[in-house]
Subunit: 181 residues, 2 copies
DNA sequence: CCTACCATGTAATTCGTTACATGATTAT
DNA sequence: ATAATCATGTAACGAATTACATGGTAGG
């Protein structure tokens, strides 16, 4: 039996304190945002399937003064399925679809101003992204200094910082060649 | 009227000497491979739509001793639609889905060997990718020294090289922390 | 002969986003 | 009041991959 990435993402999220679909969405948005995205349209059907396939149990909870919610917990089978997948070698290096490079490539016979504008805009966004990473990093270091998970979180952040920094440097040298060359 | 990226990719390809669906696939696989992918299942329906919408003309060609083929040429309208899109600001910075970071994040309570294995495997692939970029670069510099398109090709290659190099460095420092720390 | 390459296409399936729909609670 | 947050879901749509199906030509 083979599952898709969404299932593993939800299984993974359920190894943390996240117990509801809502909380899973939050976790992934906040912690994995720069290398993984997910929508409610994926999460809720996935949770349903987990229960059907005995990978998780569901618990309906109605607490006084709180909205009704459904808490999910991994079963042994669920943990096994996740672990097995985590051990498996990585399939593909997926190609990121980069619209800037795409436009750059096909704009080679068009006026250079457009390209320069795109590059400046892209640079700005990359810089914002970099600032966001730094912000999260500082937040983590001051607010969660004991957490053992911290290391792993910082490692994925470091990846984002390094690749973003490299992309920023690319925009700099590329803008230089266009403006000076 | 708004089109999807596939349409623009095919329009863009038709600004080069590519005239058939087969040639378009080859161009994108060879030149845009590190930031764009496409399949025949996208190309042929797109070409059909281009003709329907008057963005391209079709020409059935039967040459002696050659397989039958269909040559497409951009119309003025096609060129206009492409140019207009190329000028438009970039929508989104899409999040690349990174399975290594994903597994790393969720494997934080699992034995470290798995993670180290994944990192080494990833590093190897990144190094291969980097070599490929260098290979293409050298090929371009020796074989197409006059081409004006060359600059743009080299620029997109440079992006790939820089971000890949940054990712390689990340694997190095991360492996270090796991092995020494 | 057989493999590689040139060439075109469709259908099924999977995957993901977006819009829609609902409703309780908390803080301002 | 009302906005923000917590909470759950479905339906429609769009996009992309994969498998399938076909057939010619060139070179070893």
């Amino acid at each position: 039996m083979t599952y898709n990435h969404t299932i593993y993402a939800v299984l993974g999220a359920l190894t943390t304190e996240c117990r509801t679909g809502y909380a899973i969405k939050q976790l992934i948005d906040q912690s994995l945002n720069h290398f993984w995205k997910i929508s409610y349209g994926q999460i809720y059907p996935a949770l349903k399937q987990l229960v059907t396939d005995d990978l998780a149990t569901i618990e309906h909870i109605s607490e006084e003064g709180k909205p009704q919610r459904k808490e999910y917990h991994l079963t042994q089978k669920g943990e096994d399925v996740l672990k097995k997948w985590l051990e498996k070698p990585i399939d593909q290096i997926p190609t990121e679809k980069n619209e800037v490079l795409f436009k750059l490539f096909f704009a080679r016979h068009l006026p250079m101003e457009h390209t320069i504008r795109h590059l400046r805009e892209y640079q700005k966004r990359l810089q914002d992204q970099y600032s966001t990473y730094k912000g999260i990093e500082n937040m983590l270091l001051t607010n969660h200094p004991k957490d053992t998970d911290l290391t792993y979180w910082l490692i994925t952040l470091d990846y984002g910082k390094r690749t973003t920094q490299a992309a920023i440097e690319w925009t700099e040298v590329t803008l230089d060649t266009f403006l000076k060359g």
